[in-house]
């Protein structure tokens, strides 16, 4: 009897391990309430979402639906009022230094406005992010060069952001997000400032990287083209997920 129980426990453990390997990001029943003056505004009302390795999830919703708040919570920039977050199999607490640690190790951000450091070259932008994550010296330089090659900017390493096109800037931002091998990539309207052709290239790059590098990718977007690369499209409206669907 005991042997049988032990065997079942091992099976359950293996199943848990397999699950935690596959799932890189999960939010469970997350709620977020902001206080504005004397009013409480509930922006997220019990959102649950899980993202697996190599999966591309598109998060769609109108302005004010709560998608940026959800992205901030998934990115450990904001703490939820209630609910749980798990990143790379690790439960995330509300402590700021713990959140920062998760951001450093497990999450890469890509922003609508690129948010590159204008005084740094493409190589330095990526290298600086690695420095912040604790990678220094030749290791940082080599990793920065690697990820810039990966996004097709190996020949633009010494260029300042002002000398790069919008698409190239976004590629640098993607390289920066990839640096340090985070498990999760979070992209906020990454194609909003790009024309259709460049936007499509960037989305295809995202898809390729998610698959090749085994990243969980969440793209917050209004861009219908994202549906072409997403494994799953999730709608959000009034703080609730509306139409989780396989794509």
């Amino acid at each position: 009897m005991n042997a049988m129980l032990a065997c079942c426990d091992r099976d359950a453990e293996r199943e848990r391990d397999a699950t935690s390997l596959r799932e890189v990001l999960a939010v469970e029943d997350v709620r977020k309430t902001f206080v504005e003056g004397s009013q409480k505004v509930e922006v997220l009302r019990g959102v649950s979402l899980a993202v697996d390795q190599g999966e591309v999830v598109a998060l769609e919703g109108p302005s004010g639906s709560g998608k940026t708040t959800l992205l901030s919570i998934m990115g450990c920039i904001l703490t939820p009022s209630a609910g749980r977050i798990r990143v790379a199999g690790r439960e995330v607490s509300g402590d700021e230094s713990a959140l920062r640690d998760v951001r450093k190790r497990s999450i890469g951000f890509v922003f609508q406005q690129y948010n590159l450091f204008p005084a740094l070259t493409a190589q330095e932008n990526v290298e600086y992010a690695l420095n912040v994550k604790g990678v220094r010296g030749r290791g940082a330089a080599a990793e920065a060069a690697r990820v810039l090659e990966l996004v097709g900017l190996g020949d633009r390493k010494r260029f300042l952001p002002r000398d790069l096109s919008g698409g190239q800037k976004q590629r640098v931002a993607i390289a920066r997000a990839l640096a340090g091998a985070p498990e999760v990539l979070l992209a906020d309207e990454p194609t909003a400032n790009l024309d259709t052709a460049v936007g499509t290239q960037i989305l295809e790059l995202f898809q390729k990287l998610a698959k090749d590098e085994n990243k969980g990718l969440v793209i917050v977007t209004h861009d219908p083209k994202v549906r072409n690369v997403a494994d799953r499209v999730v709608g959000i409206r009034d703080g609730r997920l509306s139409n989780p669907q396989e794509h």
């Binding site: 951001r103 450093k104 740094l120 290298e127 420095n131 920066r176």
Partner: protein
């Protein structure tokens, strides 16, 4: 390691130039003004520091070496009897009027001793022999007197309080804080020129015998000269300096100059760093979003402040040293010792870091979520 601080600073060259100019201005102001002050103050004690007297006996409450009061010359006999005194001589330091060839009358500061060579006075002789002074109505005049009295030559005569004296040589570096030119003559002749110092002296210069403690000998002299003050060389120099610093308001004036210099530096550096911090707020938000802490941002601001301090100080110090020959032509001595230069450098670094700290509060409150705002 990539230095975002340095790159940002050099990226906005105009702001960097303004910051560095502000620091350089503050450094130049402090170095030149305080250097001039110290140079001027050096004149207040130059004879004390160059003479070989270990102890000075003065009349009660004499405020500084230039403003001497007289006391009986026989006091020296008591001092000579004190254990540990190797030699003690009277010295007269007295303002007297001198008649110039133009007919104008000016003031000069007369130093009268019986044996100049025993006291290393004057210490920088251009021409003539101080030991000759006791042989007649002779004087040695400091070359700096030419600024007030006009040119003079050895062999010429000048009238001091109606007595004709022959200039038998010239000295250098002898000066008084009051700018009255210094003239050296024999003690007895100086005594004879003015009624107020007949049979009197201004000071007793004391040399301590080898193996004796200066402070202990001074204490013994105090015991036998109850109506005098007794100072070691260092005490007397400090008293003379303090008189000019405190009594004339020069110290306060200098304090205000230094304060203004620091204020200008802080305002310029704080203003430019704060503006820079505000303009780079989204970048700092990005630093936080990618896992950086407030400390990472403080380090950026601190490094920028440090660069501004080092570059600004270097330029300011170079300007100050460059101005020295020009000021020397105006007979202004800028005295900058290595210790003073090091103090100003440390002050500059503190000033810049202090100014940077004013931006810390602004960046500490940056919400990394702002990176999601378009």
């Amino acid at each position: 390691m990539v230095s975002l601080a340095r790159k940002n600073l050099l990226h906005d060259r105009l702001r960097f130039v303004i910051t560095v100019a502000g620091v350089a201005f503050a450094v130049t102001l402090v170095l030149v003004q305080v250097g001039l002050f110290l140079g001027l103050l050096g004149k207040a004690t130059v004879t004390i520091e160059n003479s070989s007297a270990d102890i000075w006996v003065t009349s009660r409450e004499t405020p500084n070496v230039d403003f001497a009061h007289s006391f009986p010359e026989t006091t020296v006999l008591r001092v000579r009897g004190v254990a540990g005194v190797e030699r003690a001589d009277n010295a007269i330091v007295q303002f007297m009027n001198i008649m110039l060839p133009s007919g104008a009358e000016e003031g000069c500061l007369v130093y009268g001793l019986e044996d100049f060579s025993s006291w290393n006075l004057p210490w920088d002789v251009e021409s003539g022999d101080p030991t000759e002074l006791r042989r007649g109505d002779f004087i040695l005049m400091d070359r700096s007197a030419e600024r007030r009295f006009g040119p003079f030559a050895v062999g010429e005569y000048r009238e001091i309080l109606g007595h004709r004296f022959k200039i038998i040589g010239a000295t250098r570096q002898a000066a008084s804080f009051t700018t009255a030119p210094v003239v050296f003559m024999d003690f007895r002749r100086a005594q004879g020129l003015q009624q107020t110092v007949h049979n009197k002296t201004s000071y007793i210069l004391v040399k301590v015998a080898p193996g004796h403690d200066k402070a202990q000998v001074a204490a013994r002299i105090r015991a036998v000269t109850p109506y005098n003050d007794v100072y070691t060389r260092e005490e007397w120099a400090a008293r003379s300096r303090n008189y000019w610093v405190v009594s004339t308001g020069l110290g306060m004036n200098m304090g205000i100059t230094v304060f203004l210099g620091i204020l200008v530096g802080i305002v310029v550096v704080a203003q430019t760093l704060y503006t820079s911090a505000v303009e780079h707020v989204k970048e700092f938000g990005t630093v936080k979003a990618i896992g950086g802490s407030n400390w990472d941002i403080y380090k950026i601001l601190g490094e920028q402040a440090l660069i501004a301090a080092v570059v600004g100080y270097t330029i300011g110090a170079a300007m100050s040293f460059g101005m020295r020959p020009l000021l020397a032509q105006l007979h202004l001595n800028v005295l900058v010792s290595p210790q003073f230069a090091a103090t100003v450098f440390a002050g500059t670094v503190l000033m810049c870091l202090g100014a940077a700290m004013l931006s810390f509060k602004r960046v500490a409150g940056i919400d990394p979520a702002l990176v999601f705002r378009a």
